[in-house]
């Protein structure tokens, strides 16, 4: 068995089906499923998770607990004191 013209001709009838190149071109234009999944995850799912995280964080601090939040407690105190003063103010005006 030297360099084999016989073995070369053995597979000569094995040729690609008609339209194989066109099929390849079509496949190349289609987005790859895995790549698409990765893109959707990185661009949409990850963005969704980030948005949800921000939303949860926002809901966690609002509405704030007036007892726990010193700023709001101060505001309530001011408000309360105004209420307390209001009758006197009214009576003074009268």
């Amino acid at each position: 068995m030297n360099d084999h013209p016989d073995l070369r001709s053995l597979y000569e009838d094995l040729t690609p089906p008609v339209g194989a190149a066109a099929r390849l071109r079509t496949r190349l234009r289609e987005p790859d499923l895995m790549e698409t999944a990765v893109w959707v995850f990185t661009h949409r799912v990850a963005a969704g998770i980030a948005a949800a995280w921000i939303l949860v964080g926002f809901l966690h601090v609002w509405p704030a607990d007036p007892v726990q939040d010193p700023d709001v407690s101060a505001w309530v105190m001011v408000d309360t004191s105004l209420d307390d003063l209001l009758p006197e103010t009214v009576s003074t005006l009268e």
């Binding site: 094995l14 040729t15 390849l24």
Partner: protein
Amino acid sequence: MMTLPTDIDTDAHPPQAVFRHGVDAWYPAIYRHIAASTYGTGLDADDLTQDVFMKAWRKIDTFDGRSSMKTWLYAIARTTVLDALRRRKIRTVMSVFSERGASFEPEGDRGDGTAELRHHLRLAIASLPEAYRTVILWRDVDGLSYAEIAAIAGESEGTLRSRHFEARKRLRDHLTRNGITP
């Protein structure tokens, strides 16, 4: 044997042109190699060839022209075939035959025994262990040089020469045992 164009200069052409050149020049040869490698296994050579070129397109940016386009595509074809055989748990073509419990009938026999002889020769090659089968196909069917085979397999030319010698011996023994004279 079809004369194929020489390799493309990757520095002078954009990746799309390099890839298009690869498809035009090597698609039939890669298809034939895959069809020969998977003969009798039931794997679809057309699908696998498409996969090879899809992979090549995705990796075209990494093709720097240090290896030839031909050996690069053959290397992708080798891993694609091995992966497909592994996925289908096909170790040898003979295991497929024994699972089916029947012998394959050659197609397109013209009554002169040519198709039958061709069928048995293809089966004999396909039933060789992968390392021997691929070296026979690369050298004797695809007409690659030992240097090109070494570039694909990542082994020395000396190793591949002795493996090729052993592969031919095994093939000859197999054919003699089965009373086939090529």
